[in-house]
C-alpha cells in the first residue's frame, strides 16, 4: 500500500519466486514421468516392506503390496466359531453359513491382479473360495431379484452388484488369499472378491448377502465412487467385461 515497504529488498534476483516455480516445474515433470517411474517406486516400497529385518517395515504404506483400509474405528474379530454368513432377501430359502459350511462347498481358485483406485496394485494374487453364483443358486433367487447387496460385520461397509455381475464365474466369497486363510487385516475370515473390478468392490469382513430388486449403492458409492467398479482398460489384463 503506502510507505514503509522495503524498497531495498526489491533489488535482488527473485530467488523465492524461482524456487516456487522450480518446484511447480518439478511437480509437472513428475506427473509427466510418473507412468515410467511409478513401478520402480512401488517395487521399492514393496521390496522394503517384504524384507523385514527390523519390523520398521510395517510403517511403510503397503506391507506385502496391500494397504489397510477400514471405514470404522475398530472391527470385531471373528473366527470359525463366531463367524456367520447370512444369505437372504429375494430368495426362496434364506441360508446361514458357518465358516466350516463354506469350506465344505466346492472351491474355486482365481489368480488376478488386485488394483485399488488409490493406484496400488498387487500382481497375480490367488484367491480361493465359493462362487457367489453357487450360493445364489442354492438359495434360489426369486424372479423379482435383480441385484445383490453385501453387508459387513465391521458394521458400516456395504457393497453392491447387479445379479448379472454377481453370477460371473470370477466373483467369489473368498476364504483364502495367497493360498493362506484370510487374515483379519485382509478382511478375514471371509471377504467378497470381485476379480474384474477395483478392489473397493471386494468388501472385507463379509457377513450378509441380500438379493434386492434394484442396486443399493454401497458405502463408497454413496461417497462418489462408481457403482460399476470395472477395471479401466489399461488396468485390465484378461477377458472383457
Amino acid at each position: 500500500m503506502s510507505g514503509g515497504t522495503p524498497k531495498r529488498a526489491s533489488e535482488g534476483a527473485p530467488v523465492g519466486r524461482r524456487a516456487l516455480l522450480g518446484v511447480l516445474g518439478a511437480g509437472a515433470a513428475g506427473l509427466a514421468a510418473a507412468p515410467y517411474l511409478q513401478h520402480g517406486w512401488e517395487r521399492f516400497l514393496g521390496a522394503a516392506s517384504q524384507a523385514d529385518p527390523t519390523g520398521l517395515t510395517g510403517l511403510l504404506p503397503n506391507p506385502g503390496g496391500f494397504r489397510y483400509y477400514s471405514v470404522v474405528g475398530s472391527v470385531p474379530r471373528k473366527d470359525a466359531t463366531t463367524y456367520r454368513l447370512r444369505l437372504d432377501g429375494l430368495v426362496r430359502t434364506p441360508r446361514t453359513y458357518t465358516l466350516d459350511a463354506l469350506r465344505a462347498l466346492p472351491q474355486t481358485r482365481i489368480v488376478h491382479d488386485v488394483l485399488c483406485t488409490d493406484g496400488w496394485r498387487v500382481k497375480q494374487t490367488p484367491f480361493t473360495g465359493v462362487r457367489l453364483a453357487d450360493l445364489l443358486d442354492a438359495a434360489g433367487v426369486r424372479p423379482s431379484g435383480a441385484a445383490v447387496r453385501f453387508t459387513c460385520f465391521d458394521g458400516a461397509y456395504s457393497e453392491s452388484l447387479t445379479l448379472e455381475q454377481a453370477r460371473r464365474s470370477d466373483v467369489l466369497v473368498a476364504l483364502t488369499m495367497q493360498d493362506k486363510p484370510l487374515t483379519h487385516e485382509h478382511g478375514g475370515p471371509v471377504r467378497l472378491y470381485v476379480a474384474p473390478m477395483y478392489f473397493y468392490k471386494s468388501a472385507k469382513w463379509l457377513s450378509g448377502i441380500s438379493v434386492t430388486d434394484k442396486v443399493v449403492p454401497g458405502y463408497w458409492e454413496e461417497r462418489g465412487y462408481a457403482v460399476d467398479g470395472w477395471l479401466d482398460d489399461a488396468d485390465r489384463h484378461d477377458r472383457a467385461a
Binding site: A9, V23, G27, P61, G119
Partner: protein, 216 residues
C-alpha cells in the same frame, strides 16, 4: 509498542539489555497467518499419516472421516496466506523473502561449507535458507493442492491418470515432511526465533547478530 519495559531504569548490570531493547519482527497479522497455517498443516500431516502408514491405518481406521479432514484442511491451507495479502506488513515480508541480496549468496556458501558462526552468515530480515524454504514450500503446497484435486475429482484432467497424481502427491509429501522437520529443528534450536513468532518481538542484539542487514 513493546510492553515488556517495566525496568527501563538503567540497572548498571553487565548483562545485555535484552528485555529493554525489543525490536518488532512480526505483526499480529503475520503471526496469525503463521499460526493458522501451522494448525491446518498439522491437521493435513497427521491425517495423511493415518491414511498412509499401515499401523496407524489399522489403529485409527475411519478412512472416510480422515480423508474428509485431510482434503478440506489441504484446500484451506493457502487461505491464511491469501488473506494475509491484505496486510502491508505481510506483503512487505513476502517481497523480502522473494529477493536475493548479494549477502544471501554468501550465507548459502557458508551454509554449504557448514560454517555456523553468525559472522559468516550475513542476512537481512530473512536469511537465504528461509527464503528458499518459503518459496519451495509454497510451490510444494500448490503441487499438493493440484495433485490432490486430481485425486479427488476423478476425470478432472483425463490425460493425467489418478495413479500419476498419487505418485507425485506421495513423493512431494515426503519432501514436505523432511522440510517441515528441518524447519521445526531450526526453530527449536533458536528460542529467540520461536519467541519472535509467538510474541512478535526479538531483542536488538539477536537481530543484529543473526540478521545484521535487517535493521536500518
Amino acid at each position: 509498542m513493546p510492553s515488556t519495559a517495566g525496568s527501563t531504569t538503567p540497572t548498571g548490570t553487565t548483562g545485555r539489555p535484552e528485555l529493554r531493547d525489543r525490536v518488532r519482527r512480526f505483526s499480529i497479522v503475520e503471526r496469525t497467518v503463521h499460526q493458522t497455517t501451522v494448525l491446518l498443516m498439522l491437521l493435513c500431516v497427521t491425517t495423511a499419516a493415518c491414511l498412509y502408514f499401515a499401523p496407524l491405518s489399522q489403529l485409527i481406521g475411519r478412512r472416510h472421516l480422515l480423508a474428509t479432514i485431510h482434503v478440506w484442511s489441504g484446500i484451506a491451507l493457502p487461505l491464511p496466506s491469501l488473506l494475509g495479502l491484505f496486510s502491508a506488513a505481510f506483503r512487505a515480508d513476502l517481497r523480502r523473502l522473494n529477493r536475493f541480496a548479494p549477502y544471501d549468496r554468501q550465507w548459502l556458501s557458508a551454509a554449504l561449507r557448514r560454517r555456523t558462526a553468525p559472522e559468516a552468515r550475513p542476512a537481512g530480515k530473512f536469511n537465504a535458507g528461509q527464503k528458499l524454504y518459503a518459496g519451495s514450500l509454497a510451490g510444494a503446497v500448490l503441487v499438493m493442492l493440484f495433485t490432490g484435486l486430481l485425486m479427488w475429482c476423478v476425470g478432472l484432467l483425463p490425460f493425467i491418470s489418478r495413479t500419476s497424481a498419487i505418485f507425485v502427491h506421495d513423493l512431494v509429501a515426503w519432501a514436505i515432511a523432511i522440510a517441515l522437520i528441518a524447519h521445526l529443528r531450526k526453530a527449536l534450536a533458536d528460542p529467540e526465533a520461536l519467541l519472535a513468532m509467538r510474541t512478535g518481538h526479538v531483542s536488538r542484539t539477536w537481530a543484529e547478530r543473526h540478521h545484521k542487514h535487517w535493521l536500518p
